[in-house]
Structures are given as structure tokens and as C-alpha cells.
Symmetry: D4
Subunit: 255 residues, 8 copies
């Protein structure tokens, strides 16, 4: 509450049009939580206003009934919903919460979109190999449900770099590019050197031996010799998708 609105309220108190009790209520409420306490969780209703998309449900480790309960609460104030790393059982439960629930098999993401929003912008998601696809799809589903237009190109790793160069037009037309790669993570650097838009690199745990569950790709990406690259956690397609959405939506904002 800024000073102008505050003085206005206090003048109403002075004039008697607002009682001190009402004013106290208002002042206290203006800093209310904006979340709902449902016992095992505090559902954050403000997040949508604050960040442009409601709280996202990370499924692993949560009982199915809790997931369904949180989803139900969130849908009272939000038109869309994203649950990541789900499975068939969770999907069945969410299908009961909303018939619009969709299961994205490769990534395990579940989305609910009560009313289809327009997608804006061109986010490109590329992978080095075919086994990076689940992570890439988590990123794609995330950005899509948040309202960004997404295109995917898979299996263009640097071992056969001509496959990548054939996609040059798509690379140059994107507003932002997500690169999902495991093993040496080298694709991020090569893409980073070819374009002028922001590149979000997401290392995947694909590989064996000294790939150490994605550390090799993570370090490679953090040390990219190309500029304009930032990195998310290993296998964190959701993280990559959400920052990419933030990036792309900046461009299409109509302040």
C-alpha cells in the first residue's frame, strides 16, 4: 500500500467514513498471506500474480491424494496447472480433478488447461541425442503450458554436426533456444556460437562412466567457450522451460 492510498484510508478514518476497526482490518489484510494452509502444505495462490504462473507440483515423494488435493486448490484460482515427474496413477487422480488433464508420456508431465491460451513467441528446444528427449519434452511442455510457442528438433549432436547446420534457419529464427545434452554437453557451445539469442543449456544425466550422472555435461556447459549461455540443473527440463518462458514472454509483453 503506497503512501497515497494509505493517507486516503487514514483520512477516511478521520472523517469517520471508515471505522478504526475496519481500517485495521484493511491494513492487516493488505499484507495477508495469499496462500491457503491445507495442513501438509501451504498452497501459494499469489504466485500466479507474482510470477505469471501458479505453483507447479513436483510429484516425486508426494502421496497421490496430496497431489490431487493441491491441484484442486490451485485450480480454484488458476486456469492452468502443471505437475512434473508424474505417472499413470497420478494422471488418473488428476483426470478426476479435471477432465482436461493431459499426460505427457516421455517426460511424465501432466498438464491441465481449462481454457486454451494463445501461445506467443518461438522457443526452440534441441537435443544432442534421442535419449535426451524426456528432459527436452519436460522443458517444452513447461514453456507451452505457461504460454510460449515451442518447436523441437531432436538428435542433432556434434558427432554428425551437419545435422545441426541443416537446422540453421530454425536456430536463427528462434527467440530463445534450449539445448538439452548429456555426455560431453558440447552441443550447447556450438549452438551458443551460432546465434545471438539467449541459450538455456540443460545438462542431462545421459552417459556412463565418468559422465557421473550429468556432471560432465553440467561442467562443460558452465564452462562454455561461447557466450550467451546460462545453465539449469541436471535433467531439470522444468527449470529450463520456465526461464525460457520468462525470456520469451518479455519480448511479447505489451506494457
Amino acid at each position: 500500500m503506497d503512501r497515497a492510498r494509505l493517507e486516503e484510508l487514514l483520512n477516511s478514518v478521520k472523517s469517520g467514513s471508515v471505522t478504526p476497526e475496519e481500517a485495521a482490518d484493511g491494513l492487516i489484510k493488505s499484507s495477508t498471506p495469499g496462500y491457503e494452509d491445507i495442513g501438509f502444505a501451504k498452497v501459494d495462490h499469489h504466485r500466479s500474480a507474482r510470477q505469471g504462473f501458479c505453483e507447479v507440483i513436483y510429484c516425486p515423494g508426494k502421496p497421490v491424494v496430496q497431489i490431487a488435493a493441491i491441484a484442486k486448490k490451485l485450480l480454484t484460482t488458476s486456469d492452468s496447472l502443471l505437475a512434473t515427474r508424474g505417472d499413470k496413477k497420478i494422471f488418473t487422480a488428476l483426470k478426476k480433478v479435471s477432465s482436461k488433464a493431459v499426460f505427457h508420456k516421455a517426460s511424465g508431465a501432466i498438464t491441465i488447461e481449462k481454457k486454451k491460451k494463445t501461445r506467443k513467441g518461438n522457443l526452440l528446444v534441441v537435443t544432442a541425442g534421442t535419449t535426451d528427449i524426456p528432459v527436452a519434452e519436460e522443458a517444452a511442455v513447461t514453456a507451452d503450458i505457461m504460454g510460449t510457442g515451442v518447436k523441437t528438433i531432436y538428435d542433432v549432436g556434434v558427432a554428425g554436426i551437419h545435422r545441426l547446420f541443416d537446422q540453421r534457419d530454425h536456430l536463427l529464427n528462434a527467440d530463445c533456444i534450449i539445448v538439452a545434452a548429456g555426455m560431453d554437453g558440447a552441443l550447447a557451445s556450438v549452438v551458443g556460437g551460432m546465434v545471438s539469442v539467449p541459450v538455456v543449456a540443460v545438462p542431462t544425466s545421459v552417459g556412463y562412466g565418468a559422465s557421473f550422472g550429468g556432471i560432465a555435461a553440467l561442467l562443460s556447459m558452465l564452462n562454455s567457450c561461447a557466450t550467451g549461455i546460462a545453465v539449469t540443473n541436471i535433467d531439470n527440463g522444468f527449470g529450463a522451460g520456465s526461464i525460457a518462458h520468462r525470456i520469451v514472454s518479455q519480448k511479447y509483453k505489451t506494457d
Copy 2:
């Protein structure tokens, strides 16, 4: 060279207005390197066209004469120049290359801007402590010389979180936020949870003991519980500044 331009050239060959030799020259040249080989380095003149800013000189480990030589070459095709992690000696040498050279003491960055460009957008750079300032300033100088408007707010770490909340307006008005923090890197998560714009987190090597030269902050940032955050390498202010510039400039592009 696209098909249209190619057929046009070939028709000129057919018609005789262009000789086969001339056409061969043209076709070969259309894939020329776009860089200049100066012995110890291959100066990349195409980078500006390809990525919006010319090659940046990373000073450590390069002899001063080589740095000056590369700078001179780059300035033949570029109006601005950035050299990172420089020192007084390198600055003196670059001052001779161009009287417009400026030394940014906190970060060691050296910039040359032959003709002042307009800055666009609002990039906010915040730090947790005062010892994170050198990294933050490298980021700020980088984004600035690339053409982005930058504001900095220092020393708003979570140990006294009211200092951060006082800056809420600045946080909410930014197009993109860079968070530079060492130790626990917690500031990135707190900021990430407050805003809806992209957050670029740059861990700093500030700290001791088990901070392991910035690894603690790096891991903390990669694992942020807030969304919309991507991370650059430890102390890599340049990397943070350049992706932030790419992000902000997307919004102000006039295609």
C-alpha cells in the same frame, strides 16, 4: 547464399555477363572465413554480425602485445570493444590503441566505445555482499558496453532481508535481474521467488572453508527452489552480463 541469389548468379553466367571464373570466385568467397589470421590468433570479424557484439578479449595468460594487436584488429570492424580481467598495464597499452579506452577498476574490465550507443532496457544487478561487487561490476560493464541499460544494488543479502525488500520496486521494474552471491548463494532463490522476469544467477568465489571457491553457491543456485533462474560459471560476471544483454535486447528488438 539462398536459391534465388544462386539462380540469379547462374543465369548471369549463362548470359555471359559473369564469367565462370568470376562466378567461382564469388561462390568460394561467399563461404569465406570472416576472420583474420594474425599468427597466434584467428580474429573473428563475423562475430559481431552473428552475435551482436564483437569477440571479447579474455586477458589472463595473453601477452600485452598480443592483446593490443587483437584489439587493433577488432576495432577495424567494430565500434566497441571489451577486454575482461585486465590490469593497469594492459589498460595503458589499450589506451594507445584508442584514447577512448576506459578502465573499470573493481572488475578489471577495459572498454572502448568509439561512438556512444544508446542503452536500452532495464537490467538490474544485485549482490549479496560487498565482496561480490567485482563480479557484479564485470556483469554490469559487459551488458552496458553491449547496449543494455544497467542499474546496480549492492549488499542486500538475506542475513538482513529487509534491505532486499526495500528494493522491491526496483526488482519489479527490471527486465532481467542478475544476482551475484557467494557463500550460501541464497539471495538468488529469494529474488527468484519475488519476480516474474528471468533471473541470471552468478555464484562468486566469496566465502571460505567449505564454500570451495564458489561451489557451495553454485550448487545452491542450480538447486534453487524458485523457478525462472539459470546459472553461469563461478565469478563469471562476463557470462552473466552477456546472456542478460541477450535477454533484455530481445524485448527491445524492432524486427
Copy 3:
């Protein structure tokens, strides 16, 4: 046995009121083990006197019959008992040892309290997310069975920091606060900066990718920019609960 008591005994020997054999018995006993050797284990009966609570049974890797045998022995000299990381099968066995056995499902802890002690003090246990609850409950059950009053607040992580600030009163009224958090572990620093009581931070293995089973949170907490924080092992709710109990019980000691 201090010098005064020693000379007193020796004077009794001299005077004949105590035989040398009896005195020898007494001197040897005063340094007796205070534990019982039951073959596969040496049950520590002195621990209660020495440390305020009897030996705690860490269940993993121990056969159920051994756990039951140790429990039976401990209950001969102690009124309360704690077994951590148990399961239904172990609970059934301990239920036979004492009908007062209680199974704490979220954490797997099993407690037996033959005669309900009064709880003293205000220990607050907070978690960043809902998946940190098992660790938090192990801490809460531990401190409770040891005699400390415990309150829990879950799901107040920094991604929606207003949820935490709403709990400010509880934070400021506590004698000690345990913060259980995975991922970036940032909640510990934020809480640490808000209060003046000791904060015990327990990193959880919640997270994925480069959280490395809790290392990210561990390092973040060890490097907290706030003061007044000490850390226990990853997922070690028991450790956090027992030091918190020691801290709180200091205040309510009546020397």
C-alpha cells in the same frame, strides 16, 4: 570419586569399619563399565546418567531380534526409548516388548514412554517443502521423547517467502529453531537472519540433478551468510532433534 570421598573411604578401612575387600570392591565398581555385554552389542546403561537420555537404536542393518533384545535391556534402566528408521515389522516386535510403543509413520521412528514426562520449552521445527517432512518429524519426535516441547511449521520455503514471514511470531517465540530443507537450503539463512536464538540446520536429500543427495543444501547451510547456525548431517533429523533438545533443556535446567 574425588579426594575427599576417597580419603573418607580409606579412613574407614583404617578404622576397620570397611574391610579392604569391600573397599576394593567399591573402588573397582566406581569405575565399572555401566554397560551390559549381550554378545553382539554392549548396551550402554550409563548413557542416560551421562547424557540425559538412554542409548538410541538406529535400526537399519540390525536384525529385528537384536533390536528387540537391545530395547528390552535398555528399558530395564530407562523409562523412555527411541528407535529410528524403523518399520512396521520392527514396530510389531517392539510392541511386544512394551505395549506403549508408538510408530511415527512419516519418519519411521518408534518411541516407548513408560511414564509420560512433562515437556519443557519451545522448539520450533520448520521445513522448506512438504518432502522435507520425514526428516523434520524425526527431529520433532526425537526432541519430544527426550522431553522438549515441539511445534512444527511445514512448507514455508523461500520461493514464496510471505508464507515464512506470516510465521514471524512463532519464529520469535521459539527457544531454538530446526530448519529442514533440501535443494538450495536457503531457508536456513533466511531464518538465521530473522531470529536471535540458535538455529540448527538439517539438510535433506530432497532434490535432483546437482543436489547430489543433499550436498548442495549441506554446503549452502555450512556457508550461511547469517550467523547463529550450526549444521547436522544430511537427513539427520535425529541428530538435529538431539542437539536442539540439549540446547532447549539448558534453559530449563534448575541447577
Copy 4:
């Protein structure tokens, strides 16, 4: 400001004894920053009220003039001051800020206490070896300046465990014990098993080879087989001292 005080203020507005402007001033001020922005830093004046001791100056990486400036600002609202990891040069500068400045050579800590406070409680600081002394003294100086009574016992490591057992009385009489140890860090576990008060373990970087700058001791302490131990960062005597002060002062609080 709680509801009672808020309604009181609003009633004063209604009655006219307070103007709306004055009330607005009061309401805004009640949430004022409580810190002073001196350009390169935001000096936190509220910390003392919030946490019982003013902001502590960590010297490394800060120019001497900045340290002196921060110290001067802090002393306007605080009677005591602590600067850690200082040196002779910084001491000379602070001596000019206050003639009461004291330099603690072993740890590099500098304290200023304008008016000597009473020390309360019994904090015991023990070390395994003589090379752990600097860290131990940082802890001792920290707790002392914050108002806790401190006793130190050095060089009682487990390689000659009889030296430790001779100190049993001191161990049993303490309100809290800090154990500073490098190498194997084993002293923390042995002490933890002997007492019933909280033990704060601070690993030191003393050792060589596979001690990895204190990681061996850190891991050993985090994995202590004894209970009632929490750990601070490697060489972080300040951190150990400040949580120990929080622990001890709990006991002597007179609510």
C-alpha cells in the same frame, strides 16, 4: 506493530490527536529499513535489536577505509564491535575510530567494547592440537565480545586421550562446548560422548595430504557417532562462537 497498538494509533487519528500525516509517517517508519546506505554497503543497524549483536565485519577483500567507515557507522548505534580476520593495518585504522580497539593476534580478530558488559555463563573451547588455536581463539573472542563467559583448553587431542580425561570437570561444568579440531576431527565425537550439553564442532584446515583443507575433519564431525553435536564451516571460529553465544545466553535470559 500488533493490532492493539495499531487500533490505538487509528483511534488517535479518529480523535484528531494524531494527524493522518503523522500516522502515515509512523506507519511507514515502523517498517523502515533500519540500515544506512553508505554507497558500497548497507549498514544494518537493526541487527543488534534483531539478533543481540550488531553486524560483524568480515575483513578479507574489503579496503581498509571501507572497514573503518563501516565500523564508525556501527558504533553510532552499538557499544561493541567485532571485526574478524583483520591484521595490524586494519587494527591501526580501527584504533583511530576508537581507542578501545583490541587486536587478538592469534585469530586476527579486532574488538571494540566502549563499555565493558558483564559476561554470563560458561562456554568451554577445546582444541585437539596447538595449530587449531587460531580458530579456537576466533570462537572465544566472538562469544566473549557478545557477552558470554569463555574458558579455553588447548592440545587435548585423542592421540593422548588422558590429557582430555583430566579435563573432565571442566567439560562437565560447561554450558556449551566448542571443539576445534583438524585432521581426523575425532575429538568432537569423544567429547560429544562424555557430556550432556550442546557441542559445537568446528573443523579446522589443519592437516595435510588427504585432509583436503579440513574436509576430512568436517565429514568426520558431521558423521559423529555421538549425539548432541552440530557443525560449523571449516575454520569458522566466528560461526562457532556466535551460535555458542546464542546457546549459552538462552540459559541466562531473564524473560
Copy 5:
């Protein structure tokens, strides 16, 4: 397309024997992808020409139907095929693609060789123990299907070094030697010191405790005190086999 062939084409355009459209087609085609997009993958038909062997299928994480589909595509342009880390189910599927499919049980490799090529050269594959055999056989099968003659000697680790010295003749006659060893990886250094041919060391994940899944052997091999050794990833028999094939085939090339 080199200048000579280019001018020839352009002269044909000039002379009219080739139309500009045909020439444009040719010029565009000369840079065609050389891969086939089958939706989930981009099958690289050029790899054989470029690197002497077609794309190899790494089975883990790929659905059986995809593996079979890729295999079928590859066999349209290649006479041989290698799939690594397969199993009985994948073998059954590939057996349907080609009756020539062979399953190599120890390593899980599956090979198809439509027309038996001559093997050239002498590659020797040695192991330290019997549990290193699966990795060694992956290397042997890889080099064999690529066209290199392979001999294997197993269980000659340095704990009984006379077993190795008995094989001196085989060691001295080889064109290249692959050493597969886990645990201390010491065999690589000993072999490296005995011969003058290139040694390819492949660490295996054999071992326990602080072998860390092959890291001990990997580091040992990277730090070999003998010269002439290069290393592949942990358990990467395929990688070792393919570079060894490249090495040996160099010698038998008839330019």
C-alpha cells in the same frame, strides 16, 4: 566440391549443356545432409564415408522398436552394424531385421555383418582380471566388426606379474594394445613401459569401496608413469575398440 569441379560445372552452364536450374540443384545437393530423419532420430548415412564405419546404436534407454527401425535404415547403406549394451530381447528384434545378427553375451554387443570383411592387423586386448572381461569383449567385438584383427589375453594383472611377462611375445607383436583394468588400473602402466606401440587404457568399474565405480583406475591410467598411453571413459569398451581400430587401420591403409 573443389574449384576444378566447380569451374567445370559452371562452364557447362555457360555452354548450355547444363541448365541453371540443374546446376542449382547440384550445388545445393552437394551440401545435402546425408542423414535421414525418421522422426525420433536423424540416421547419419554419411558417417560411414566420413569415418569408416556407420553410426553405432547405443541401446540403453531406447525402445526396442526404435532400435530395430534405426538398424533397418542403417543397413540400407551399410554392410555391417554394431549395437552395444543390448540384451536378448533386442537381439531377437535385430535377428528379424537380419538373420546374420550375432549376440555377444559377455558384453551385450550385437553385430550384423552381411558380407564378411577381411580383418587386418593385430590388436591385442588384455585384462587385469576375469571381471574386466565384459568391457574387454565390447572393445574386441567393436574393433573386429570394424575390420581389425583382434587377439585377447585375460587375467594377467600385476598381482601375479609373471603371468603377464609370459605374454611378452604377444605384447611385442601387437600393432596396438587395449588394457582393460579396474581397481588400481596398474596393468596399463606396466604394459605401457614394456612396448613401443600405442596403448589404449580403458578403466573398468570393477572394484569396491574407494574405487568409486572406476574412478581409481581412471585416475591411475591418466597419471600413468609410462608413456604412450591414452585413456577412454570408464567401462567404455566400445570407445577403446573404435580408436584402436582407427590406429591399427592407419598402418594397413593403402593410400
Copy 6:
């Protein structure tokens, strides 16, 4: 073959009592392998002569039939046999090889002793907790089958250090002590400081969180502040038992 025996042989050649062919046979044989090649393995018959005990079979990863085949071969030249990390199935197979096979359940070790040897010396094996017992028993079984007298004391960790001190007599009477401990590994240092005989420390993977599968204990033991301690690999009871046997048997050698 030393010079004396060599000249003797050559003189026999000169005198004609040995033909050159026979002498050549002898000379070649005197450097024969001393192992038997059974296809998948090279069974080392010389090891017993060279090292005092025949090759030991490490079971994991080896097919049961191979284990049985190796055992059969070894028993042709050795009276005792040790197979480590076995199970019931392997035991059944070895029981068929020799009815004297014994299965040691805690450690999974299987021993065969065709003719009972005398045990010599006093090796003491102590553990910190009850979950360290499997590793301790592997050590005990190993040293025992090799011919050393072994005594075990379990559950004397430093959390209740009086339990250890009660065993002082056993500690002081031993020829060598093996300490098996997980978690903080502190027992090794305490024991090392109490005795003058060699201490072999074997870290166990017992613990959780930041014990990292035994690394905490391993580092603690490597950095022991007590002298006279050497360390074997994590959980490597066999390694500890075999070096302890070598140590003890030195004392009882009758050269």
C-alpha cells in the same frame, strides 16, 4: 636359479651327465609361469610360495561354475582356500568341491581347510558399532584361515568410550589390531593413541548422509592424529585381514 646352482648345472653339461637338451629344458622351466590357464582365468599356483597363501577368490561378478572350477584347481596345490563375498549358492557349489567348506554368514566368506593348521599370534579385531561386524568378520576369517590367532571385540565406539577402556588389557596384549569403523571413524585414532603395536584401520560404509559410503571414515582414518595406523579400502575386511596376518606372522617366523 642362483649362480652356484647355475654353474653346477653347466658343469654337469660339460661332464656329459646332463645333455644340453635337458639343461635347456631345466633352464626354461625354472622360469615357467607357475600358473594354470583354464580359459577364462590364469590360476596362480606360485602365489602360495611367493606370498604364504594361495590366490583368494573374490566372488562378485563371477559365475558359480567358474568359482567352483578355480577352487578345484587351487586345491590341487593348496591345503586351504578362501572365497570372499560369497552366498549360499556359491557355498553349495564349493561344498561339492570339498566337504570341509565352511560358510561364514556375517561376511559371506567361505573357507576350506583340508587339514587344520595351528594359529599363531594374537590379532585383535575391534568394531565401533554392531553394523561394522560383517567387515570385521571378513577380516577375522581371512587372518584366521591364513594361520593367525584372532580375537574379536565388537561395539566399543567412542560415543561410550568407557566400553573401550574396559578392553585395555586385550588392546595391550595384541600383536596387531584391526579397527573397523564407519561414520566418523574416530575409534581408529583413539586406539592408535593407546597402543604400541601396528593398527590396521578399515573404514566401513556404515552411516548415512555425508558419510558418502565410507569416505568420511576413510578420510578420518587417513588423517589420524595418532601414529602407527595404516588404512585399507572401504569395507575391505579381506585386505585388512591379510596385511594383519602378514604383520603378525613376521613375529612368529622362525627363520
Copy 7:
């Protein structure tokens, strides 16, 4: 000594043309060390015969006089000599040993070639950046002095990948390629995917932050998605050069 030569000798003994003493001398000598003991070192004269090049002197940590002494000894049996990681002072000392000594400034290598050998083959050494040059030159000097023809191409990293593609002819004509790269090490994968000859990747410690002194590049190279790559130790130009020499010389051997 093979059987034929052995029987011949023994027949001479029988016939009396060789005395048993002489034969014993010969038999013993045939297994003589082939090295010279100069107190602090055992100079290996056999290495040249065994491995094609004499022992190489690694300078760091060796006193200059020892280096000169070893060099002098080696030159009595070898025409060429290589000392790595030397400096001006060592060069001056070796210049006195042989006037043919040459100092290679970028890498610190010192070579002596008493009689210029012909170089055979085409080894190509490429670097990603200019700061990788010292490592690359160590590799180049090593292979050159061993007798391999070397060409170098510097500064063709993937951030401006057109610079690499311009070198395609050189890449395709090489017998073996060494790739020296720090940071993300991505160049190795891209080169590996373009050629059919063996690629030796040498990670350099160039980079900062999470490059961890070359670990990022090392892991990236070990996990290369391209085949035909093997890796040497970080900054180990000598190792890369020597295996590359072994590879190339295989091709030019005339058995």
C-alpha cells in the same frame, strides 16, 4: 635368449669351446639391467630399444645439476633428448652438455638432437584458444623430436566454428590429430565427428570457476559423443605427443 641360441651356447659348453664360467657370465648378463645407477636415479638405457625413444626428463622438482647429469648419461647412448617443463636456467645447463640444445619457450621444453633425423608422417595439433598453445607446443615438440612430422593450427574453438571448418583439408589429410582445449573441451568432439583418424584429446587447465583446473574439459573429452577419441592427462602435452608419435610411426614402419 630363445631356445635355439640357448642350446647353441650349451653345446659350446659341452664341446669345451665355452667354459661353464663364461656361459654363466653370459646367461646372467643376458638379463642385465640396461640401466645405470647414478645414485639419485637409475638411468634407463634400454628404453630407447624398448620404446623407440630414450627416457624423457621431467624437470620440475629436480635440481639443475641432477638434470644435467641425467642428460649427459642419456646422451652417451642416445642421439636425441627431451626435457619437459624446463626453464632458462636448466636450458643454460643443458647447453653446456650439448651445444645443440634448443629451448622451446612457449612450453618450456628443451630438446637436443645431435644428428637431425628425418620426420615421417602428418600429425596435426589444433587448439581451441590461444591460451592452450603451451600445451599444444609441448605435444608438437615431443612428437617432432621423436621423429614425427607435425603441423599446428591454433585458435579454432567452437565459439566461431567456421574457423575450424576452413581447416577441413588439413584435418582430413592428417594421420592423427591432437586436440588441446580447456573450458568446455568441446572441440575434441567436433573434430572427432569430422575425421576417420585417431584423435588424441588433451584437456588444458585453461578456464576459471567451475572448470576446476581442467576437470571440466577432461570429463567432456572422456564423455565425447564422437568416437575415435582417447584422452591424456590435463595439460599433458608430452603424453599426447608421445602416443601420437607411436600412432603415426606405426603407419610408416617398414617391418
Copy 8:
């Protein structure tokens, strides 16, 4: 004090031949510290009785005056003294404490032996290279001053394994062998496989790149495929020497 001696004393009290005060003195003294508190250190006079050699002074981090003071105290109850990692300045100070002080330049060890003891047994110390000599000499000096006979053989690493085999007689005659090796640490395994006596392996920090200051050698040695090997900390020659002394002296004890 055992029961027999205790009852005897108490009977003397009863009979009056010993007063209670005298008896109390005796009983208290029988558990006296056996160390001397000199302010900054607690000098352990009992250690010699308890462990066969007095406390050893580890010099780094200790002021010279403290070292001299400790040395003086130790020499009041011990005939020999060892200070490790010293330098010329410390030597000069100790020379004043005793004219018998000897400085061992390679390792920095300083020994004082007031009266020359006989050396017993055959300890062999071998190194892989010449740069491992300082660590080896620390081990040799340590064992020697403690009373063990020592022989050293340097520079017999596995890159030229014939140099090692020439020393077979020395290896087979030793009572115990210390192997000091950096880089791949492979020498430990090879030696371990050749002998039947205990092998103490000490990894050295010799090497570069991924040797990580000795970790590669440490891991290699911990994972040795040969038996009978135990390991000390990196560069810990003192630790290796002291356990080797304990091992060898066992054999020559005359109980």
C-alpha cells in the same frame, strides 16, 4: 592398578604401614596425566612408555620458540627426538637445545639422538621416481630414529620395470617394505604381488593434472589388486615410517 596390587595397598592402610593420605596420593598418582602443561601445549611424557617413542613435533604452523620449548621438555624424559617438516631456522634453534641435532635436508626432518640406540630389523623403502625421495626419506628417518634398520632404493618405477626386478633380493629379504609413489601409484601393487611381508604404501603428491595432489596414487593404492598392502596419508612419510617401525619391531621384541 590391578586388584591384587590394590588389595595389598589397602591392607597396608589397614595395618597402618601406609597412611590414608599416602594411599590417597598413590591412588591419585597412579592415574596422573603424565604430561606437562606448558601453556600453549600439553607435552605428553607418557607417550614413550605407551607407544615406544616420545611425542613427535610437527613443525608447520608452530612458532620456532614453541618448537624449541617443546623439544627441551621432551628431552628431559626421552633420549631421542624427531621434528618433521622443519627448516634451517628451526634446525638452528634445536641445535641450541642439543648439539646432537641433525638436519635431514631432503625431508626437512630434524633428529636428536642423545645416545645412539642399536637399529634392529630390515625395513626397505623404495620409490617410483626421484621426486618421491623427500617423502621416502621422511619415512626412513622416522623409522631409523625409532630404532629400525632401514635401506633405501630409489627410482624403480614400473615404466622401466626391469630396474625393480633387479632389486628382487632386497625385496625378498626385507621385514617390511614402504613404497612411496606418486602419479599412478602402480609400484605398490607390483611390489605387493612379489613379496610376503607387509607393504606400507605412501602416496606422494608428485604428478600434475588429474593426479590431484596425490589422490590418483592414493586411490590406486587403496584399490591395489595385490594383497598385504595398507596405506597412509598423501606425502605422510612420517606415518609410513612409524607404522613400519611398529611392524618391524614386533619381530625383534623379546618379551
